[in-house]
């Protein structure tokens, strides 16, 4: 059924991604900056932006297109963050408090957006875009007038001199700046340990109470595993390594290589000896292992080594991004994910199969809005200061442009495309002004170029989508005819 794609077809399908890859590499060379600098900047920006971009995937899955409405998620976070800053809740507590405040807001907003989108099926993208502007208006009303004007807030640091309205910028330096980025892995493991223990025991008790059979072997296995992992962190060397607030990129690459090798080996063993799966293709995992070994070997090259020891990663933030990727793919394997896919591909068929289309779409919107609000929180804590009236306005456009650059389309977007998109789009972000300055003596020209390209990509993707929609019916009937003949 599937035929191999020719190189030409592959190039054509990935044209946007390839153009950006070319521009990024060319820009880096023209900027005259060291690779180490660009990689360092890039890693910071991935940590900042990837979460928001990943929040776009679920609506695409559910057939609602690119969710320009994530601006509303960002707004939820900014309201919460203003309040926690006002209350001077600092550090990781501040982050958690903000998230705890922003999440119910985002759920509510997401529900409303979902309701609205259900009334305008097929026009969700333009609807989301306009909705973003509308929400911005309400947001301004809240921050310019209601805060101080209706709700008395006595806070000269945040409010303008008259006491009515919030200042243009909110500084997070003393409260939540880097609060998430600097959480050491050690603490994460500790918390995870307690959560796993509690969840396992509760689950077993719950089953006992419901008079269901409990898989004691499995429960015991999980508990022992958790204890072993936790015990390992008491080895001084491990403890010291994990207690760092940032991790060297070099170490991260090493860990990733080791993890890949182990995972692929496990896959082979699992398929061959445990499941005894016939026709399992060993080549694929072997290729991955070879790749991992190659990458590891390359870290011994001086040039690569220099880059890798220059950059430090905010581990917890990356962990959050990884967890979201895992969640996105795990969701696909659930009943809800399957319903979303069905709704995304054909509302009529899904409805006929007894799936509640409207409900599924609303859930997708809630997911997306909540994730976007968390994404904005990660972004703001990393920047450390935000423009009260501007920080959220471009969130949708930039996130969507990044996703599209990674090769996603209005109907299909994956984790891989999102991550690749962040890398390419933000490389250009970093190098375009520098390259402009080097080549033409003016940083703004590079900046103009970047803005032009990023909005151009969105326009192109939407035009292609519209074109495909128009071209499809004629094509479909043609195909039908051809098959009949």
């Amino acid at each position: 059924m599937t035929k191999k794609k020719t190189i030409g077809e592959w190039l054509f399908e990935n044209k946007v991604m390839l153009i950006f890859a070319f521009l990024s590499i060319g820009g880096t060379m023209a900027s005259g900056q060291s690779v180490a600098f660009v990689v360092n900047e890039l890693m910071t920006r991935i940590a900042r932006n990837a979460f928001t971009i990943l929040s776009l995937l679920i609506p695409v899955l559910a057939g609602m297109g690119l969710n320009f409405g994530i601006v509303i998620g960002a707004i939820a976070t900014q309201i919460a963050l203003f309040l926690t800053t006002h209350w001077r809740i600092a550090g990781i507590t501040g982050i958690l408090a903000t998230a705890a405040l922003a999440t119910p807001l985002a759920v509510f907003f997401g529900f409303l957006v979902g309701k609205l989108f259900n009334k305008m099926k097929g026009n969700e993208m333009i609807g989301g875009l306009v909705l973003g502007y509308f929400a911005d208006g309400l947001y301004q009303l809240l921050f310019l007038f209601i805060f101080g004007g209706v709700i008395a807030i006595n806070d000269p640091k945040l409010m303008i001199a008259t006491g009515i309205g919030v200042k243009n910028t909110i500084d997070l330096t003393e409260t939540t700046k880097y609060a998430l980025d600097t959480v050491p892995l050690l603490s994460v493991i500790e918390i995870a340990f307690y959560v796993v223990i509690a969840a396992t025991i509760l689950s077993a008790l719950f089953k006992l109470a419901q008079k269901q059979t409990v898989d004691w072997k499995r429960t015991g296995g999980i508990l022992i595993g958790a204890v072993v992992v936790y015990a390992l962190t008491f080895i001084p060397a491990v403890e010291r390594f994990l207690a760092q607030d940032r991790m060297l990129l070099l170490n991260a690459v090493e860990i990733a290589c080791a993890a890949t090798v182990l995972w692929q080996l496990w896959k082979i063993v699992y398929a061959k000896s445990i499941r005894k799966q016939a026709g399992f293709d060993v080549k694929r995992p072997l290729v991955y292992i070879a790749l991992a070994v190659l990458v590891y070997a390359s870290t011994y090259l001086q040039a690569v080594y220099d880059v890798l020891v220059y950059t430090r990663l905010p581990m917890t933030t990356y962990l959050c991004i990884l967890a979201l990727c895992c969640m996105n793919s795990a969701l696909l394997k659930t009943r809800l994910g399957q319903n979303m896919r069905a709704v995304g591909q054909s509302r009529a068929v899904a409805n006929a199969a007894g799936i509640n289309v409207d409900r599924t779409r609303i859930i997708a919107m809630i997911f997306s809005t909540v994730l976007a609000s968390w994404g904005q929180l990660i972004y703001l804590q990393n920047i450390g200061t935000f423009s009260t009236y501007g920080a959220h306005t471009q969130v949708g456009q930039y996130a969507i442009a990044s996703l599209l650059v990674g090769g996603a389309s209005v109907q299909k977007a994956t984790n891989k495309q999102a991550i690749l998109g962040v890398i390419l789009f933000h490389t250009l972000f970093i190098v375009a002004p520098l390259a402009g300055k080097e080549l033409l003596g003016n940083a703004m020209i590079g900046e103009y170029f970047r803005v032009f390209v990023s909005f151009g990509v969105i326009a192109l993707a939407l035009a292609m989508h519209a074109w495909k929609k128009v071209a499809k019916p004629a094509l479909a009937s043609g195909e039908k005819d051809a098959k009949k003949a």
Partner: protein, 533 residues
Amino acid sequence: MDSTRYVLRMKNITKEYSGNQVLKGIDLEVHPGEIHALMGENGAGKSTLMNILFGMPVIHSTGGFGGTVEIDGQSVTIDTPQKALELGIGMVHQEFMLIPGFTVTENIKLGREISHPNALSRVFGKSMETLDMEAMTRDARKALDTIGLQVEDYVRVAGLPVGYMQFIEIAREIDKTGIRLLVFDEPTAVLTESEADRLLEAMRVIASQDIAIIFITHRLDEVMAVADSTTVLRDGEFVAYRAIRDTSAAEIAELMVGRRVEKLVDEREDHRQLRDDDIAVQIRNYTVDMPGELVKGLDLDIRRGEIFGIGGLAGQGKLGIPNGIMGLYEATGDVTILGKKLDLHKLGEALRNDVAFVSEDRRGVGLLLEESIEQNIIFSAMQVKNKFLRTFGWIRLLDSAAAHAHAREMVQQLDIRCTGISQPAGRLSGGNQQKVCLARALTLDPKVLFVSEPTRGIDIGAKKLVLELLSKLNREQGMTIIVVSSELVELRSVCDRIAIVTDGRVSSILKPDDSDADFGLAMSGKKGGGKRG
């Protein structure tokens, strides 16, 4: 097959939509393991009957229905589709209810996925449960094997041949537990001959497992081949119940068409001289790519000055014929109008060659709903023939005086009931809208007029007026008129000859007074039923 028990008994079913009686006392009885054919022309009431059986919202939001439904001898009320599913009634849809991007397994288990609980689902409910792909694959495989479809369960539906999709739909219905009655709604309409044969074979296999089948189709030969019994409906009335072994294709055809005593056009004097060598419209090797109404290589000669009817069942391609000539859908082949060959790829070519068209899609293609009656009447002529325009150098302006005068004349001539010529066309009743469409076509002074479904959605009085007008135009002005219609009665009352189109080709050309059986057989795609007229 057990002929003493009934899996389904619908007795004396009546239904009306806003005062319009669409079902008048229908009985339908099906035994377990029986293949029962439900037959009738478009609009005979088959879909309404099935909607009642499935408890569709369209029935219950319009006041319900009369009569009783019994499943396995128990009287039941089916008020939602879910209820129908619970009672073991399944439907194989005419349009595929499949998701192209899903695998065969995923489609078969769509909405009924097997899943097992996990940590998250205990908190957030059933929708977060993990899918059990293995169990789903096992079930799908079993259903596919039952109907004998050799297809891997993990391939995507998108690339499969059309015939396979039908089978996957059937597999999905079979997979539902406790299924005892399956409705096949024109399943062979989109299949090739060999695929259709396989489908009939699969139907026999299913019936042999004591699942009853209601088989809705227009194809008589299939009914004769596979069905055990048949119920024939006509105009919402129960016509006959027959065991297939006691009847013949010709009898069923006659029952389906029936002679209706309804005179639509008064006789008028006929001074026309129709000659077989004086051809107004010649069509050769003509195809039209109109979705749902494909024309596949059709030849036709229409004599100058005749009223020619084109009939046939919905979806067979009759509507594609005028739409292709007017350039509304992609068309190929040779079309010669009054000796001039048309370039089918050029929009407006037909209009410039004295052809006018009244579309079946009155509100979509036929009228500018928000514009006035006057605008609607003069629009085409103004665009195509530069009528109603005054020229000042290179500027052309609307000659509103001439336009008013013409519109008033037309309103009077066609008896268009309106508040005035400036009333928006969208506010008129169906019959008056149709007259505006006709007025617009006549303003073009056509020599050949195509009228598509002229009486669709208009009441009987307006129907008669429209048909009489066509007849008058033909007799008095010698206009060649081609009427495309699903209503055989109206074609038989105005036309000189009637071509029946099946599967995108002319199956036969009949005279209006040919027998009902001939028309029935021609519509069912059996060739050689009629004589050339």
